[in-house]
């Protein structure tokens, strides 16, 4: 089973200068809990922000929702390829203590996000059906 078979295809990004409030609305609108941060006009991916970041670093700390994303995002992105095996992606997440990786296509363009939960769900589905899943 490949990452492409379980990943969430997503190309929406936010800018480092976007407010946390705006990014939270974007998460609601796109039904996602993690958004890669991209420098507008340049296209470089510089980090990622999750709904958990917003809860823990804005709400819990009593900071303003107008705080710029760059102040609370996780700098740097860990990724994998669409062609990678899901077991390999899961191992990488475990090693990095992360719950998601961004996914790049063959042209090294951002194509989505894969989460540990998506991989585990697929592995459980495959186990229930007594096989190794789709090859």
């Amino acid at each position: 089973m490949k990452v492409r078979d379980v990943m969430t295809r997503q190309v929406v990004t936010a800018a480092p200068t976007d407010s946390v409030q705006a990014v939270a609305r974007l998460m609601v609108d796109t039904d996602t809990g993690a958004i890669p941060i991209e420098v507008p006009g340049v296209g470089n991916l510089v980090g990622i922000i999750t709904d958990r970041d917003i809860v823990m670093r804005i709400v819990a700390e009593g900071r303003a929702s107008t705080t710029a994303v760059s102040e609370i995002m996780t700098v740097g992105l860990e990724g994998c390829q669409e062609d990678d095996e899901i077991d390999e992606a899961a191992r990488r997440m475990t090693e990095l203590s992360m719950r998601r990786l961004v996914v790049y296509d063959a042209g090294r363009e951002l194509s989505g996000i894969v989460t540990l939960a998506e991989i585990v769900a697929e592995q459980q589905r495959a186990a229930r059906h007594g096989g190794g899943g789709r090859e």
Partner: protein
Amino acid sequence: MNDRLWSEAVILEAPDRQLRVESTRDADICLRRYWPVQDGRAWELAREACQRALAGHASPDSARRAFIEAAREAGFDLRAWT
């Protein structure tokens, strides 16, 4: 895509609520999901203006101006310098 920051944020205030909007994309989301009045003429024009700007057929500033009119129509207290 012209979905990034406007030249100046628009801050909308209502009781127990403050929306700070800084881009056409965010304005479009606010109009669709967080707007108290979704049948006004200015709301309709603002949605169209946002769509045109997001498609690259109009400037972000034109969307911002239409958004401000929709905010007035909806009864928000408005904070914007321009």
